[in-house]
Amino acid sequence: MERQSSPAGAERASAATSALSAEAVVKRFDQVTALDGVSLDVLEGECVALVGESGSGKTTLLRSFNGLVRPDAGRVLIGGRDISDLDVVALRRGMGYVPQDGGLLPHWRVGRNVELVPRLRGADGDALTKADASLQLVGLDPKAFRDRWPSELSGGQRQRVAMARALAAGPRILLLDEPFGALDAITRADLQESFAELRASGAAGPMTCVLVTHDLHEAFLLANRVAVLRGGRLEQVGSPSQLIEAPASPYVRDLLSRARVTSGDAVVIRQRSGE
């Protein structure tokens, strides 16, 4: 990645523009507190990975950025504006979304799936063109794939189609919820590489993205910054090397050691990202 990763320092974050912000967000589901006062800024063009165990609140935080989750307290800002003042449907049409297992509509062929957002945005005329271009972008031949049913695709192909669908309307923001979680190791590596290239190749600079993952290696590979969540609270936010060199808590240290991340990896990451 060519881009400089942004350190987590508050002075740096406020200097750049925040694309997405959570301000002391609280969310409860019945008795369970999923988010317990989480604040996080995602800068324009930045990729932030949300990591943590199941139930740590990472998916809830992701879903509060497109209004699928409404905070019980605190605010969510999109481009500096409170999400509750915005038309969430229009907002979502401007954000790409890739869930685990693709979430393709099984009764629509691949082509119709990818055309979804362009059509919702009223681009019926060139929805087909956009869909084909998007399929091309994720490495699928439109002619070969356009007329297939989702059930006829492999897991990797399904995720590529989901990615193409998320990108077809040219969003500036991309939300990904464990997009590569259900794939075998080789396919996953393949897709991770494609994704990194895709994100960087955006004409107006890299897309802003939030990536939920339970895989620290994936987070370090794809994200500029990593946010570690635990029991609905932010444990630490920082660049991969910051996390490795200065874990903020025993929990983060434990997480790293269980993922077999060593200080040697920090060197590799620095070199790779040109830090």
Binding site: G94, P99, G102, H107, L116, V117, S151
Partner: protein, 510 residues
């Protein structure tokens, strides 16, 4: 309004029933042989006096026929004074047959607005029958004798008799009869069960033609438990006040049919298998009420209560077409109501279970009971049958629509919402297509049940393949029963297979 439109549409397509010119007198019967025969005699006598007649044979049972008469959906049917007193007035029997007739003749106009014409001249009381050979070996002549042996005997009684106060409950307390075992048997099978030795005692009617077919003994009611059941025409308020000519014609039969004649007529129908229209014509001719014995064959069939007897393919075809219409229209109405209701409930999840359970309660009502509820609202014939069948079909469709839409691939629904589809778009473009196979399965279930339930429509004069079944049950004629039951079963199979094809077709994303 809708009812009329439906009726009109159906009469266009069904075409088998031509409404007679002018206000026809609607003549009905209950579903057993003697009632069919008496009603046919009423009808033929009226026609002979130049009065147009509309026939509604085999209406459910006492409750159905009487409700239809009170509602003015029918004008006349043969009833029994004892039944009127006990079942309809809910009073205990008192005194002789004259006292019973006077009581009902006085109370019915006041309470229900309907009137009894003078009795026809015979009594048809309950008859408790046993095998002659067994009666001899046990030395049984009377019901008191029966009471001594009841503990070792098995009874096969009609459901009607088991429930009525003038049936088993009263009989048990009057004679102290306690059977070893009591089974509910339909009239069609009870004599055969008795003959085969599966049961030892059955209930029948004293004028039953079938008692002669098997070697049976009717036990004497030595304590005079059964009240007098004199047969008479029961007529609607409207007929009484507006059609004196018809009332006069029907009164011509009063006092003319004695018990021997009635038993002989019943035997001709039930034992000899002579068509009812012919027996009715001959009886009227013998009584000197009409000229010329037998109507021509063609006219007979056209006006016949027993057109099902004809095994011609055209009869089967028209019954099947009628049946399909009953099923098709009621199912279409059910779909139009149930699918939107199911979709609405998906949006109001809290109301869903109570509402669906409420719809399910309809399903638990016995078909006859539901039909009975329909009569005060819609009369008899097609409309109440269609309403009842549609109500019966709601449950599986509402249930499947609701669960199908609610449980539609949650990941796909979530992705659709996250990518900016509105709730309406999600419902129409995602949930509904994904739920289509489940909804279709519900429709298929409803359709197959509907084909079976529609046979009950014959009990309220709506026709269909139930007609030969109802008549066959009444006349204890297995062939006639099968002539309706087999096509109905085949129809259910065909409907199931056809809809399975549709279900396969609507399956998304193959």
């Amino acid at each position: 309004m809708i009812g009329r439109a439906l009726l009109f549409a159906l009469s266009l397509t069904a075409g088998s029933e031509q409404p007679p010119a002018g206000p026809a007198v609607v003549v009905a019967s209950k579903p057993f042989g003697e009632s069919y025969l008496l009603a046919e005699m009423f009808a033929r006598l009226l026609e002979a006096r130049g009065i147009a007649v509309d026939r509604r044979p085999g209406l459910g049972a006492t409750e159905l026929a009487f409700r239809a008469l009170r509602a003015g959906s029918i004008d006349v049917y043969p009833e029994y004074t004892g039944t009127g007193l006990l079942v309809l007035l809910g009073e205990r029997p008192s005194g002789d047959e004259k006292a019973v007739f006077d009581r009902v003749a006085q109370e019915f106009p006041r309470r229900f607005g309907v009137r009894w014409l003078p009795p026809l001249g015979f009594e048809n009381t309950y008859a408790i029958a046993v095998r002659e050979r067994m009666a001899d070996s046990l030395g049984m002549q009377t019901l008191s004798d029966l009471a001594r042996h009841a503990g070792t005997l098995r009874a096969g009684l009609t459901p009607d008799f088991i429930g009525r106060s003038d049936g088993l409950p009263g009989l048990s307390s009057a004679y102290g009869i306690r059977f070893r075992d009591v089974r509910a048997l339909l009239p069609a099978v009870k004599y055969r069960a008795l003959d085969a030795g599966d049961v030892d005692v059955v209930d029948g009617y004293s004028t039953d033609g079938l008692i002669a077919r098997y070697h049976l003994r009717v036990l004497v009611d030595d304590r005079k438990f059964f009240p007098p059941y004199e047969a008479a025409a029961l007529v609607s308020a409207r007929l009484w006040s507006e059609n004196p000519a018809a009332v006069a014609a029907l009164t011509e039969l009063s006092g003319r049919i004695d018990v021997a004649r009635m038993r002989a007529l019943n035997r001709r129908v039930e034992v000899d298998g002579v068509p009812i229209p012919r027996v009715a014509s001959e009886a009227l001719a013998e009584l000197g009420l009409i000229r010329g014995a037998v109507a021509t064959n063609k006219a007979e069939r056209a006006a016949s209560f027993a057109s099902y007897v004809s095994s011609s393919a055209s009869t089967l075809t028209s019954l099947t077409v009628r049946h399909l219409l009953l099923v098709g229209v009621s199912l279409a109405v059910a779909i139009l109501v149930a699918v939107p209701l199911g979709l609405m409930l998906e949006r109001h999840a809290r109301a869903a279970e109570p509402v669906i359970r409420g719809v399910g309660v309809v399903q638990t009502l016995p078909g006859i009971a539901l039909l009975a509820f329909m009569i005060p609202l819609f009369g008899i014939g097609l409309v109440p049958a269609l309403v009842a069948l549609a109500l019966y079909s709601l449950y599986p469709i509402v249930r499947n629509t609701f669960t199908g839409v609610r449980d539609a691939d949650p990941k796909a629904v979530d992705a659709a919402r996250a990518l900016g589809m509105t709730d309406g778009q999600i419902l129409r473009q995602v949930r509904l297509p994904l739920a289509a196979p489940v909804i279709m399965a519900g429709i298929r279930t409803a359709a197959v049940i509907d084909v079976g339930t529609a046979t009950l429509a014959a009990f309220i004069g709506a026709g269909g393949l139930g007609e030969p079944i109802v008549s066959g049950l009444a006349l204890s004629d297995t062939r006639m029963i099968l002539s309706g039951a087999i096509p109905a079963a085949l129809l259910a199979l065909v409907v199931d297979v056809t809809l399975a094809g549709v279900e396969h077709f609507v399956h998304p994303g193959r």
